[in-house]
Amino acid sequence: MTVSDNLREQFLAVVPNLRAFAMSLTGRPDRADDLVQETLVKAWANFSSFQEGTNLRAWMFTILRNQFYSEMRKNGREIQDVDGVHSARLATHPEQQGHLDFADFRTALATLPDDQREALILIGASGFSYEEAAAISGVAVGTVKSRVSRARTRLHEMLDVESETDFGPDRTSEAVYATLAAAKS
């Protein structure tokens, strides 16, 4: 296997992760994949600056994120198109249409401030450590922690999780929520 074949395989393995992250940033499948494409080209061209033994996925996420925000600044476009998120995703995934709950959550996620959504996705979905997420976003670890915390609280408020039946017939959680509700009032 040549060096470039090897690199090809390594990059290919990261593509699904890059697409999922790009989707969370742009909210649009077409823009997300354009962003991934630009990221792959850039990462390939700059691979000499990647330090062997460090996290390739984190390195490529950083490139993607920087690319996204530099385009944003250049074009002055809105970051998230909430309606676009909704219609685009529902159109590609009709099987989800029965799950209003799921669509609501997607919309709620899209309405989070960008820095909070980014932190929450990196920690809660991409599986990065707080240190890695901090490096990707170019902020302090404490900043990531507080963004994640605020994001969760905000989602909780938006979705009014306490009233959802999504927990199922779980007596324990029902009891917990009853207690929470009582404590609040």
């Binding site: 040549t2 060096v3 470039s4 074949d5 690199l7 090809r8 990059f11 290919l12 393995a13 593509v15 699904p16 992760n17 697409r19 999922a20 989707m23 969370s24 997300a32 994949d33 991934v36 494409q37 792959l40 080209v41 390939w44 996925r57 995934h93 799950h99 709950d101 799921f102 959550f105 997607r106 996620l109 929450l120 996705i121 920690i123 809660g124 979905a125 991409s126 599986g127 990065f128 450590s129 707080y130 890695e132 404490g142 922690k145 507080s146 994640v148 915390s149 969760r152 609280t153 989602l155 909780h156 979705l159 999780v161 306490e162 959802e164 999504d166 927990f167 959680s173 917990v176 929470l180």
Partner: protein, 87 residues
């Protein structure tokens, strides 16, 4: 809702910080992990956090689990080919 265990992450990475996102794992997370008021949603009930975490994973994994579109396979082929020709 696609509940249940998700397959482990493609690169096998699973940071400790995401332990509270996993179903059935929520009792492991204690307040001692994070300073109050600073950490990841210390004031939220672990069940709420777990619930939100599962949903975020579901939204993310929906894209993650899609097959890689052909455009990226072609692009990487092209990049690899160019590199070989340039050598």
């Amino acid at each position: 809702m696609t509940d249940g265990k998700k397959p482990s992450k493609p690169d096998g990475k699973n940071a400790d910080d995401t332990a509270d996102m996993d179903i059935g794992n929520m009792t492991e997370r204690s307040a001692s992990n994070l300073a109050p008021g600073v950490g990841g949603g210390g004031r939220l009930d672990p069940r709420v956090r777990n619930h939100i975490g599962k949903k975020i994973k579901a939204v993310y994994d929906e894209v993650l689990e899609e097959p890689v579109p052909d455009r990226f396979l072609s692009l990487l082929d092209e990049l690899a080919k160019k590199e070989l020709e340039g050598e």
